[in-house]
């Protein structure tokens, strides 16, 4: 009596077994984000030891690569070799080796402010600023349109630049009606100054311990070191 032949663990065509095939499928479906071993276990219901073995084997056969997560170095993501790690893993354009390139960002912001100060028309569109970065001599200063927008948005959050919609009149004569434009804040550009906060100008406004301060407590207005410093004439 002849027995039915058991299926081979390794599929002869691609050289990988069923588990590896499932895991590779999952990793490919996740594209640039890849999958962690935890995700592989929960999604495929394969035993942990078999997942580890399959991942090692896929790595060996150069089908997947390992990318660290910049948010959590302990968590490793596995990506199919044909995909580039996505923004969530690397941090995006502004990150170098997992750290934010603060000096570059601040430098670019300064350049933007200088451009806005120098321009005769108080109001400019994104394209005008972008043209400056497009023409930049060094590669480091070259920016994409999206990156230029990000820098300008950041200046808006800093309250240094404001976003205005063009109405086609006076200052906006060189722009299309409804187009988003940028201009510097402050008195000179007609936006006025942000007022100094009445609360922020007293020590309690900046005090990290205000929640612990009571009239007769350990931290109190009569014993407060911040008050002492403020009233030191």
């Amino acid at each position: 009596m002849s027995k039915r032949k058991r299926p081979e663990p390794k599929s002869s065509s691609s050289g990988i077994n069923e588990d590896e095939k499932n895991i590779l499928g999952l990793i490919r479906s996740k594209q640039g984000m890849g999958a962690t071993t935890y995700e592989m276990r929960t999604a495929t219901k394969i035993q942990p030891t078999l997942v580890t073995r399959a991942v090692a084997s896929l790595k060996k056969s150069n089908l997947i690569k390992e990318v660290p997560n910049m948010n959590n170095k302990g968590i490793k993501h596995f990506l199919a070799v044909e995909f580039q790690p996505c923004k969530e893993l690397t941090g995006g354009d502004w990150y170098i080796d997992g750290a934010l390139d603060v000096s570059k960002i601040e430098g670019l912001k300064e350049i933007c402010v200088r451009i806005l100060e120098r321009l005769k028309s108080k109001v400019v569109t994104l394209d005008v600023i972008y043209s400056y970065f497009e023409k930049a001599s060094s590669d480091a200063d070259k920016l994409s349109r999206e990156q230029t927008r990000e820098i300008l948005k950041n200046l808006v959050l800093d309250n240094v630049v404001m976003e205005v919609k063009s109405n086609g009149l006076t200052d906006f004569s060189a722009t299309r009606i409804g187009e988003i434009c940028y201009k510097l804040t402050g008195k000179k550009s007609g936006g006025g100054e942000v007022r100094d906060g009445g609360f922020a100008s007293v020590p309690c406004g900046a005090c990290p311990h205000i929640g612990l301060c009571t009239p007769d407590g350990v931290i109190s207005p009569t014993t407060c070191v911040y008050f002492q410093k403020w009233l030191d004439f």
């Binding site: 910049m70 609360f199 406004g205 207005p221 403020w230």
Partner: protein
């Protein structure tokens, strides 16, 4: 907005410094527990205060406009008599720290004689014309009864002072809506469901405008009006224990009208904000607009003014020196500027069908936003400032990584900064658990109402601290302050000068801080 924890502590501190610790105990009891009868107060107040003393204190606080008595009609068919209850007026108590601001407003508009008269009313709570004349007679530089009478008339005409409210209004049962609707023809016309018990009581106690601000207030005519008391329905009027609406000789009793005084401060603040954020010309136009719409404002916290035409604005503008320098075309340009919107500033004026409406809410919100952001900047730094502004702009829940991307801040540091703000009540956070993802997502949002309340509480706390520190500085230099300044020399003189500098700084800081409190609580 109801009183916050430190709001109550600060209010109690003000009462203690004005009327002593026993009065403050009664006041604290009312502030913390809400409306109570005098018997309940003597039972619940922390220290033993007998019933007679409680009543005396209540009359003192009523006299200084810090407490209002009222009673509620018993349910239909019930034989029981309505009991008199007392409610603390938190807003009026806090006004006690800003009397000099009110005095300044009156001084600028009506001159020093009127402001002197208002000062008398502010410090004494309530006075009759006769008492004001007596007070003047005893002063160093008497003005004379005629001047007092004239000034009083001017103050009433400008609505800076008012006739005292009904001493003990009777409120209808909650279910019994029509009892309230019956009150006065004018009140029924503008009837709107009042929000809180305090508002209901104040509305019931306030007489109609003709009685509140009489044109003629000579003894005879006023006493007739006072006795008439037409704002309270027939059968609802109960003989009060002490009648505060008129004095012993049936003369009208006056008190400061905080509602109007706050309205003027609000208008001044709006003009100031427009001046800072736009220019002098826009501020002049705004001032004229506020003047045009003022008489039609029903309450101090109005969101929008009535619509006004270009003609009426210009007519008002040319009454002032600065306004006369402006052409109509310039005014139109200013109005256009005021109606412009950007990411930086909202529209201050709404233009519709050739008329203009002042958007008070948006003007005040700009100053509130500045206050909030400057605190975030000082307390948590520039990155937090960007995140806070981004979340305020978005006005929805946003995930940590998205915030880091938008604010261009280091992704590893972002959760810590956000958590710090969340711990202090400046942000709202929600965890979102997703199956298959190990760590839950954290979503963040700026809830302006919660932040405003948190900041208001901290500002009351800071005001209390400034006041306590000033007392501490005064106490520590008590002996030095007794010495005459001209006799001081060397180190002692220097110490005295230092004390003066400290007290000037503390006073001016608390003055400025109170402006911020006004923004969040009264405007």
């Amino acid at each position: 907005m109801t009183a916050t924890e430190f709001g109550i502590v600060y209010a109690v501190h003000i009462i203690t410094s004005h009327f002593g610790s026993v009065a403050s105990k009664v006041c604290e009891c009312l502030l913390r527990r809400g409306p109570l009868s005098s018997r309940e107060i003597s039972r619940l107040a922390e220290s033993d205060i007998n019933h007679t003393k409680v009543k005396d204190i209540l009359y003192l606080l009523i006299h200084h406009n810090c407490v209002q008595a009222f009673s509620i009609d018993p349910p239909d068919g019930s034989e029981s008599k309505p009991t008199v209850q007392y409610i603390a007026l938190f807003r009026n108590i806090i006004h006690g720290a800003r009397y000099n601001k009110f005095s300044k407003v009156v001084n600028e508009e009506l001159g020093s004689q009127c402001s002197g008269l208002l000062d008398g009313l502010l410090s004494n709570g309530r006075l009759t014309l006769e008492q004001l004349i007596d007070r003047d007679r005893d002063s160093k530089k008497p003005m004379g009864s005629e001047v007092i009478r004239d000034s009083l008339q001017k103050l009433v005409a400008a609505r800076f002072i008012e006739r005292v409210p009904s001493p003990e209004p009777v409120l209808g049962n909650k279910d019994e809506g029509p009892a309230q609707k019956k009150r006065g023809a004018k009140a029924s016309k503008i009837f709107k469901e009042p929000e809180s018990l305090e508002e209901r009581i104040l509305e019931a106690a306030t007489p109609v405008d003709a009685i509140r601000f009489p044109f003629i207030f000579e003894q005879d005519s006023s006493s007739t009006v006072a006795d008439d008391d037409s704002n309270i329905p027939e059968g609802k009027r109960k003989q009060p224990e002490v009648d505060y609406s008129s004095g012993p000789s049936n003369e009208v009793i006056w008190r400061p009208n905080f509602e109007e005084l706050i309205r003027r401060l609000r208008h001044k603040a709006c003009v100031e904000i427009v001046k800072e954020r736009r220019d002098e010309g826009c501020a002049n136009v705004m001032k004229a607009m506020l003047e045009v719409g003022r008489s039609q404002e029903k309450k101090a916290k109005t969101d929008k003014s009535v619509p006004m035409s270009m003609g009426s604005i210009y007519e008002e503008l040319i009454k002032t020196d600065a306004g006369r320098e402006m052409t109509q075309a310039r005014v139109e340009a200013c109005l256009e500027q005021l109606s412009a919107t950007s990411s930086y500033l909202p529209a201050f004026v709404i233009e519709s069908d050739d008329s203009y409406i002042v958007d008070f809410k948006s003007i005040i919100s700009v100053a509130q936003k500045d206050e909030m952001e400057s605190v975030v900047m000082r307390r948590y730094g520039k990155e937090a400032f960007r995140m806070f502004r981004y979340l305020s702009q978005e006005d929805r829940f946003v995930e940590t990584d998205k915030i880091a991307d938008a604010a261009l801040t280091e992704k590893k540091d972002t959760p810590q900064i956000l958590l710090k703000m969340w711990r202090d009540g400046y942000l709202h956070m929600q965890k979102l658990a997703v199956t298959g993802v190990y760590m839950p997502f954290l979503l963040w949002k700026v809830n302006k109402l919660i932040v405003s309340r948190q900041m208001l509480d901290e500002m009351y706390h800071a005001s209390l601290n400034l006041s306590l520190r000033l007392t501490h500085e005064k106490d520590s230099e008590k002996e030095l302050l007794l010495l005459p300044m001209e006799k001081l020399e060397g180190a002692l003189k220097e110490r005295r000068n230092k004390y003066r500098a400290k007290s000037v700084l503390l006073t001016s800081a608390s003055f400025k801080l109170d402006d911020a409190i006004l923004l969040f609580h009264d405007f």
